[in-house]
């Protein structure tokens, strides 16, 4: 896939491989002002040094440029890095290019693309990984953490080592094409569908809300819980999920308050014998 890379400029397949390895250090240090800017420079460094080899001033400016605010989904850092190297090379060869356009492109892309890839990795692949991992771990199987790690990281490493060349070779057109072809929307919708199916399953298998209320004569004691579950299995868990969903979505209740509130209410209900 990187066949064109070597003909385009000084950055070779090997340099892009190096970029990919170094993006793995993507959040080694973080701060609240510019987030993961230093790891970006760490990843781009060798490539920048090669591009600006005969121009110390240009090199220093490039280092300063990439110390600006940088924050994106870890799995697209290789892609962004490849794109940045392509732009740096363009700037080197075309002095009339405005240097500030490089950061303008970086900042305008990192937010939107992170939105897409956070949805894919955190809200879809991670949920699948957790769902599978939890189901095995809950039975005491070490396959739980192992499957979790593999399901999340195999796609992640395809991104780390497969996308640097896309960024470098295609520049911004990859993003424009992905948007215009409608693929980004499809990926987002698909990620939500898979995520929601797994979340639906996890509501049944990980949430349980049971009532301790019983009635009837002692020899034929009937539990309210059994009756409710006969109507729809786990109806109370399902209802509890939607109660929390409504509180978060429509009432904008703070999550921590919700956690403490749910704890207190449950303890009270258990204390009075309802649950």
């Amino acid at each position: 896939m990187t066949s064109n890379a070597s003909t385009k400029g000084v950055i070779t397949k090997k340099d892009l491989r190096r970029l990919s390895w170094r993006t793995l250090q993507g959040a080694t240090s973080v701060n609240y002002e510019r987030f993961t800017h230093k790891p970006l420079v760490w990843a781009l460094g060798p490539g920048l040094k090669k591009i600006w080899a005969d121009d110390p001033k240009g090199y220093s400016e490039a280092l300063q440029r990439h110390l600006a605010f940088f924050l994106c989904t870890p799995q697209i850092k290789s892609w962004m890095g490849g794109l940045m190297l392509a732009l740096e090379e363009e700037l080197k060869n075309n002095p009339s290019m405005d240097p500030s356009s490089i950061n303008a492109i970086k900042t305008s892309l990192m937010g939107p693309l992170s939105g897409v890839f956070d949805s894919l990795f955190l809200n879809c692949i991670r949920i699948v990984a957790c769902g599978v991992g939890i189901s095995f771990a809950a039975q005491g199987s070490v396959l739980g953490p192992i499957l979790y790690a593999l399901i999340y990281n195999v796609p992640a490493f395809i991104m780390y080592f497969g996308t640097a060349s896309i960024g470098y070779r295609m520049g911004t057109s990859a993003v424009t094409n992905l948007q215009e072809s409608g693929l980004i929307n499809k990926v987002l919708e698909a990620a939500s569908i898979i995520g929601l199916i797994v979340i639906g399953g996890m509501i049944y298998s990980n949430v349980s809300v049971n009532l301790a209320i019983t009635f009837g004569p002692e020899e034929a004691l009937t539990s309210l819980n059994d009756i409710l579950n006969g109507i729809f299995p786990g109806i109370l868990s399902f209802g509890t999920f939607f109660l929390f969903y409504w509180l978060l979505k429509s009432k904008k209740v703070n999550t921590l308050w919700l956690v403490f509130g749910a704890l207190i209410v449950t303890v009270l209900l258990v204390a009075v014998g309802v649950m």
Binding site: F69, A104, I105, T107, S108, L109, G111, P112, L113, S114, G115, V116, T172, V175, T176, Q179, E180, I184, N185, L188, K252
Partner: protein, 155 residues
């Protein structure tokens, strides 16, 4: 009707735009900015929340569109890149009365008002003028759950 005008030089930016759109119940976002690059338009299209219409116009056309009344049928969320653009809209559109100063990045020749908004001395004058007229509701606020700071206090 116009739900909100927000100054944010990242324009529609991931979660920030999504939370605001959600909170104010907007069904259409207008980006009013001169010289949008094709890439910025692509980025905006990727970020726009599902089911929300996106319109990108330069500032003059935005003013015309708002004043013509074609925007009345939407719950409109206007996003502008700078205080200067916000000033032009406030001055030229009868309907625009409220302005949320979200975030403009630190650049050479700018000074902070509040934590996330950096303005030039020229823009400071504009804000002072707007504040002195007293008919606008202008405040600094990054996300819906943060407390808004009135412009008068920040200046």
């Amino acid at each position: 009707m116009i739900r909100l005008m927000r100054v944010d030089d990242r324009l529609i930016h991931g979660q920030v735009a999504a939370t605001w759109t959600n909170t104010i119940g907007a069904d259409c976002i207008l980006i009013a900015k001169d010289n949008m690059t094709p890439l910025e338009i692509t980025a905006a299209k990727i970020s726009v929340p599902a089911g929300v219409k996106l319109v990108v116009k330069n500032v003059d056309d935005s003013i015309k569109a708002i004043n013509s009344g074609v925007t009345d049928k939407y719950n409109l969320f206007i996003v502008v890149d700078s205080v200067t653009t916000a000033y032009r809209l406030l001055k030229n559109c009868e309907q625009v009365k409220e302005c949320n100063l979200g975030r403009t990045t630190k650049k050479e020749g700018t000074e902070p008002i509040g934590k996330h908004v950096f303005i030039t001395s020229e823009q400071r004058e504009m804000l002072k003028e707007l504040a002195s007229e007293g008919k606008y509701n202008i405040y600094l606020q990054t996300i819906p759950t943060a407390a808004p700071i009135p412009l008068e206090k920040a200046l």
